[in-house]
Amino acid sequence: MVDRTIENFDCGHRACGGCGASSAVRMILKGTGGNTIVVSPTGCLEVFSTPYPETAWKIPWIHSLFENASAVASGIEAALKKQGRLGEEKVLVIGGDGATVDIGMLCLSGAFERGHDFTYICYDNEAYMNTGIQRSGATPYDADTTTSPSGTCSYGNNRPKKDLPQILAAHGSPYVATTSMAYPMDLMKKVEKAMNTPGSCYIQVHTPCCTGWGFDGAKTMVIGRMAVECGLWPCYDIVDGKLASAKKIKRVPVDEYLKAQKRFRHLFKPTRNEAELAKIQAIADANAAKYGIDIE
């Protein structure tokens, strides 16, 4: 097991107070160990951790563009392999959901199809937070964002989240997992597993965003746990294409999780929107059935 007392993501960076992504990164780097080269696409993490000439990274780190992190990582991996450094040094991408499920999809799919030996971790805060909370392909159903606003003719985002873990499992990835920053041990364990599995591995980490979702920054961990406990964020892993494990929960209705965030308040005010709430509950029920997360 790697030494989890080591801090490779330093304090003093410029993330919002209560930022789920920054806590996730700190824990991710406890799972990777120090011999890691990190690639970050453009996004919150890149911006809050590396305003020139300051950096929060104590390990090698590179940012090129928004949509090419997987290709940059492919190139690094190829170079390390040719220089005889691969294995001693490992390659990790940490990118936001927009950079991963939307604009970076081409490079990501290509890299996973080619099977480069690196791990890609998506910190999923469910919208383009860096540019001001616009909808991404990972924004959940009915969430209010600045480009999927609720209104007299809208309940917010009208599509469910893109299921990227399954898409990447279908690429033949040896290890795909979902986890949450609200479950640090699960997160670190899965990161360690991915980093030690040869080939292209993928982890999607749920990282609540107090600024974008509209909750008190002191409650990030709580909100993260509520997402898991209601079944809207199932934590599982897929090894060689087969579901290997799923976190079992005593599931609660989605209402409390939704009520705790301003992005869903239009579903409760002025009156409860039973029809829409039922649709969201159905998403959680489908997750539970698909991954078998309910404790009977």
Partner: protein, 385 residues
């Protein structure tokens, strides 16, 4: 020196092999395909020990090169036209990150309308990206400029990427005699890649950070200075190249029968060969015409151009590109170089999308320039307009 008759693309592939890139990443696109097919075979046959990444797009091709170069490997890619346009964002990024990537451009037109045939709009489109740009007249120059480009780009005072441009089909698919240098000579000339800095867990650095308004301007200024500095590096290493391989590239521009010329033609790429033949025939008829070939377009050798053209009466620029709503890129910059000289500079947009340019056309253009007619598309089919 042993001349071998080979296709331009294969000559370039064999030359890239001699430069020993550790990582090659490219996406197939006409007319670049024979280069990357050639290299794929070379790697498959164990003649070059490199990682060959078959990527999903040109966008990924150059992005892979960024990662590999930043990790400390010599890298290579090749593209053209639409591929270069798709790469656009990465092109600017690679230069800003000051990574010494060498990429071949088998020059081709840009759609719409779709055209697979030659002009130079693609590389010209990237003239402001901060890459060095070299243009080959023939396949021997294409071969030599690749070796030279690595030498210049990897100099720690330069640290820039470079395009080596050679005309699609006209050069890439044409068989010509070329001298492919020996492996020992190229090793001696280039040496192993010595990165200025690299991604390394033993010496962690942060690469590609963002710059606030307090810092951005200075990054751009330093980048601009480096591009200008490359002119000296071209001269220095171009001379050293000549001493080792017998072909001197110290000059960024090259005159042909220019010393006593009344009319100077200015051009880049394979059209220079046709122009030289036309000049020989015009000279036989008593016309004093010469050529100034621009081999290095970035940095733009304004001073060299002004000096070389100072004595002529008329300048005719052949542009295989057009900045729509303005003029051809070469003419615009030649005019700037000649500012204050009172020599008329006429622009001729020609050969776009593979339209053939023959000796007769060059002669007609000289006649037009002598009459003071220029700044025009040349060779239009009036019946189609």
């Amino acid at each position: 020196m042993t001349l071998q008759i080979m296709e331009g693309s294969i000559a370039v592939a064999e030359t890239v092999r001699l430069c020993r890139p550790q990582v090659i990443s490219a996406y197939p696109i006409t007319p670049q395909t024979h280069i990357v097919e050639g290299l794929a075979s070379i790697v498959a046959d164990g003649r070059l020990d490199a990682e060959y990444i078959c990527v999903d797009s040109e966008f990924s091709a150059l992005s892979c090169c960024i990662g590999a170069s930043a990790a400390g490997s010599r890298v290579y890619s090749a593209t053209t036209s639409q591929g270069l346009a798709l790469m656009g964002e990465v092109v600017f990024n690679a230069a800003g990150m000051r990574l010494p990537i060498v990429m071949s451009i088998a020059n081709r037109a840009i759609g719409a309308p779709l055209s697979i045939w030659n002009d130079q709009q693609d590389s010209i489109m990237m003239r402001d990206s901060g890459w060095l740009q070299f243009y080959a007249e023939d396949n021997q120059e294409a071969v030599d400029l690749h070796i030279l480009a690595y030498k210049i780009c990897e100099d720690h005072d330069i640290l820039l990427p470079a395009f080596v441009c050679f005309d699609g089909f006209i050069l890439s698919h044409v068989f010509e005699p070329v001298d492919i240098p020996s492996s020992d000579e190229v090793d001696k000339f280039l040496g192993p890649f010595a990165p200025y800095q690299r991604l390394d867990v033993k010496d962690p650095i942060s690469f590609g950070m963002y710059a606030t308004p307090e810092y951005y301007l200075e990054f751009r200024y330093e980048h601009d200075l480096a591009v200008y500095r490359a002119a000296d590096a071209v001269s220095r290493y171009g001379k050293a190249f000549g001493e080792m391989f017998g072909r001197d590239y110290a000059a960024l521009v090259e005159g042909y029968k220019l010393e006593d010329a009344d009319v100077a033609i200015v051009a880049m790429g394979s059209i220079c060969g046709t122009t030289k033949d036309a000049i020989d025939e015009m000279r036989a008829e008593g016309k004093r015409v010469g050529l100034l070939k621009i081999r290095c377009f970035r940095p733009f050798p304004s001073t060299d151009i002004a000096k070389a053209l100072a004595h002529v009466n008329t300048i005719a620029v052949l542009d295989k590109n057009v900045s729509l709503g303005a003029k051809g890129a070469v003419a615009i910059e030649v005019k700037e170089a000649c500012y204050g000289s009172c020599i008329p500079v006429y622009d001729y947009i020609l050969g776009l999308g593979g339209r053939d340019v023959c000796k007769q056309d060059i002669k007609k253009i000289v006649e037009l320039a002598e009459k003071g007619t220029g700044d025009m598309f040349y060779g239009l089919r009036e019946e189609l307009l």
